[in-house]
Subunit: 100 residues, 2 copies
DNA sequence: TGCTTTTATTAATATATATTAATATTACAA
DNA sequence: TTGTAATATTAATATATATTAATAAAAGCA
């Protein structure tokens, strides 16, 4: 289970994915809550469903989160240990809250 | 000397500034080396001087670095403790090297 | 099957960023 | 002062991203 060390380009891709207030909140919330479906994420952040879906897709393409279907809904979780480390290095209140 | 805690928008601004391979290398190198002038930074990274200057300006506008004149050249250093913490949370070889 | 819920995709537009080249500014020294 | 080295600014173009709205797809249920 040895994970390969990331290079500078891969790290900057992760940073770029995190570099948006909504997505930063998403990853913070997910890293606290574990998993969450799209509708709940959208509701908690106060954004429309398509917007949430698009931002989650950006995070997924960067390898930061992963989604899996659970019946009619799709649940997302944080998948990238490097992103978790970055999040944890920040002193942020919005990350300590239970909900997203 | 109490520094105010950053909010989610301010953190995403820092992340955006760091989210470019060149700028990530710049900040990593500067956080190791302390200070460095533009010409040396450009040379070490293998980019043209205007390109280096523009990227340094982006970092400066985000509050990540600060520059001060030292005779004919301008020296930059990392100024943002939050950015340093983020950098340190990454397991990156290009950050451990002395030079930029 | 047809309906409903949940999520994803597409499209359109505005805004921002990257990249490169050319030029301007600054400070110092001859 | 004039020249030179170091850096910044401007401009132009290409590319990427954000935002919003409308529509499509997938899954389960009546």
């Amino acid at each position: 289970m040895k994970t390969k060390k990331l290079n500078v380009r891969e790290y900057s891709e992760i940073l770029k994915a995190l570099a948006h207030p909504l997505r930063l909140k998403m990853v913070c919330g997910l890293s606290k809550k574990g998993i969450c479906n799209v509708g709940t994420i959208a509701e908690q952040l106060g954004v429309a469903q398509p917007a949430a879906s698009q931002h989650l897709n950006i995070l997924k393409n960067a390898g930061v989160v992963a989604g899996y279907r659970k019946g009619v809904q799709i649940c997302y979780k944080v998948q990238c240990p490097e992103a978790v480390k970055i999040i944890k290095s920040m002193d942020i209140d919005f990350c300590k809250e239970k909900h997203i």
